[in-house]
């Protein structure tokens, strides 16, 4: 479904992604691990078109994504849930959800009613301003907002960052449920222990490129890699 091949991305002159490759099959929940600053977020931004890779290729269902603008990538069915959540602060919860509906993307998948069913807390707070939600609620909202666009693939950047352990569990369960509903998920995580419960497969990133690709068993076996490339 998604095939990233040898992409190179820069911020100004700093060469951040130095040949990143990865592939996702439809229906998978894949977790991208790695230390701070290795380029995990930049990888997601490159797929989304928020950062433009100078080399390589990114194919999504046989379509080349490099050179497309973010809204064009979104319209192809890629949803983006950013690191810092980026809720529209001055919009209500309900309006935030409405922002997720893409023009002309009504396929009868996710509707506002279904979102409120799945996330009752959001329903309770529907008239509250996005800026007034707790961290956990904001995370629910940002995922729900993206789901409103009926994506085939969602890119989720550190969904559990800064959340209490109980909420972490809830958020990961929510992502597992999203996957069960037929959406492919690529998730960036620092929290290796928590993500191991939900992910099918893992990538580990070193500085600017991938150093590991394998399932849970392989990850648990690869002690050396974990020691060198993950925070313990």
């Amino acid at each position: 479904m998604l095939e990233v091949k040898d992409i190179h991305s820069f911020y100004g002159k700093s060469h951040i992604l130095q040949g990143v490759s990865m592939a996702l099959k439809e229906g998978e929940l894949v977790c991208l691990l790695g230390r701070n600053g290795v380029g995990k977020s930049t990888t997601l931004k490159s797929i989304m078109g928020l950062v433009k890779p100078s080399e390589g290729s990114i194919r999504f269902n046989e379509q080349e994504l490099i050179g497309k603008r973010p809204y064009e990538v979104a319209r192809l069915g890629v949803g983006y849930v950013p690191e810092d959540r980026r809720i529209f602060r001055s919009l209500t919860v309900h309006e935030n959800l409405l922002m997720g509906i893409r023009n002309g993307a009504k396929k009868g998948g996710w509707t506002i009613e279904r979102v409120y069913e799945q996330f009752p807390q959001l329903k309770q707070r529907r008239e509250n301003k996005g800026g007034h939600l707790s961290g956990g609620e904001q995370q629910m909202l940002t995922v729900a907002r993206t789901l409103m666009g009926d994506p085939k693939l969602i890119l989720v950047d550190e969904p559990t960052e800064g959340l209490a352990p109980l909420i972490v569990k809830e958020v990961l369960e929510m992502l597992a449920a999203v996957r069960s509903s037929g959406v492919t998920v690529l998730m960036v995580e620092q929290n290796f222990k928590a993500s191991i419960k939900v992910a099918d497969r893992f990538y580990i990133m070193g500085k600017g490129h991938m150093v590991f690709d394998g399932d849970t068993e392989a990850l648990l076996a690869a002690e050396e890699i974990r020691r060198n490339y993950l925070e313990v």
Binding site: L50, P70, F88, R89, M99
Partner: protein
């Protein structure tokens, strides 16, 4: 203070005009983070276009419809072919571009229409007077305030009652995220910039008969408009409404009470607001 009603109404009229100029300025800044120095120059173009249309046809209402359309097109072209290209180089370049455009427009105006004031008369029904608060008052100034109120109400309805409004308000918060959710943000930016230009053109037509139409009129209003968006809070439409009225009245009564200090009063107000609430009366961030 028997002059009170007169100065109050003068203040409302000038406040209305200021709102028409600053609404577009603050909207563009809120969304695109561009402080458009050419905004007032586009307002001036509106006034000059209107002068020519009035000379040719004598139809004020016609001018009031055509000039905003012309400025809409000019705004769209400026955004699409100049601002968008410069955008990647950062804010300073965008600022310099709009600064340069303001200069160019001013020079073109001097070259085409001459470096002297032109008289514009509304005539007809709008040129008359009405009885209000026990005084006889020019209808035209009331018309200015009424049009500003109408424009303000329409903008508020669009912003708070339509889907487009939700998209626009979201873009003020975080336009990149709006883009990533599948909305053609570059197109939205072009539309907003063009709409801002059209509003300034509308204001220019209206200003013609009130103030004089001359090449310095852009800079004259630009200062007040900047003060309005600083005091009201960058990007806030509600702030622009309140601040326009305050500055309008302040200017009007300032002339009455402290003729020499009326401009200083405006700066004084701005300083006080900046000290007490640096983000402006209705501003959110920073």
């Amino acid at each position: 203070m028997s002059d009170f009603p007169v100065f109050f109404l003068h203040g409302l009229a000038y406040g209305g005009l200021l709102f028409l100029v600053s609404a577009g300025l603050t909207l563009v800044f809120g969304m695109m983070n561009v402080l458009n120095f050419a905004h007032a120059a586009m307002y001036m173009l509106g006034a000059y276009f209107s002068y020519t249309i009035l000379r040719m046809t004598g139809q004020f209402w016609l001018s009031l419809m055509i000039c905003p359309l012309l400025l809409f097109v000019i705004g769209a072209v400026i955004e699409r072919f100049l601002l968008r290209r410069v955008h990647v180089f950062g804010h300073v370049h965008e600022l310099l571009l709009t600064f340069g455009l303001a200069y160019i427009i001013t020079e073109v105006v001097k070259w085409v229409w001459g470096n002297f004031p032109l008289a514009v008369n509304v005539g007809g029904f709008l040129g008359g007077t009405v009885e209000i608060f026990g005084i006889t008052y020019p209808l035209y100034r009331i018309f200015i305030f009424a049009s500003a109120a109408l424009v303000g109400i329409m903008m508020a309805l669009i912003l708070y009652r339509t889907r487009l409004g939700i998209i626009l308000r979201a873009a003020v918060n975080d336009s990149e995220m709006v883009n990533a959710l599948g909305f053609n943000v570059p197109l939205v930016f072009m539309g907003v910039f063009a709409f801002g230009a059209a509003l300034s053109g509308f204001a220019g037509v209206i200003a013609g008969p009130l103030l004089s139409t001359y090449p310095g009129m852009a800079n004259e209003i630009l200062i007040d408009a900047f003060v309005v968006i600083v005091v009201g809070g960058f990007g806030s439409l509600g702030g622009a409404v309140v601040a326009s009225l305050i500055i309008g009245e302040l200017q009007s009564f300032g002339v009455l009470l402290f003729p020499k200090l009326s401009l200083a009063l405006v700066y004084l107000l701005m300083s006080v607001v900046l000290i007490i609430k640096p983000s402006g009366l209705f501003g959110e961030k920073q």
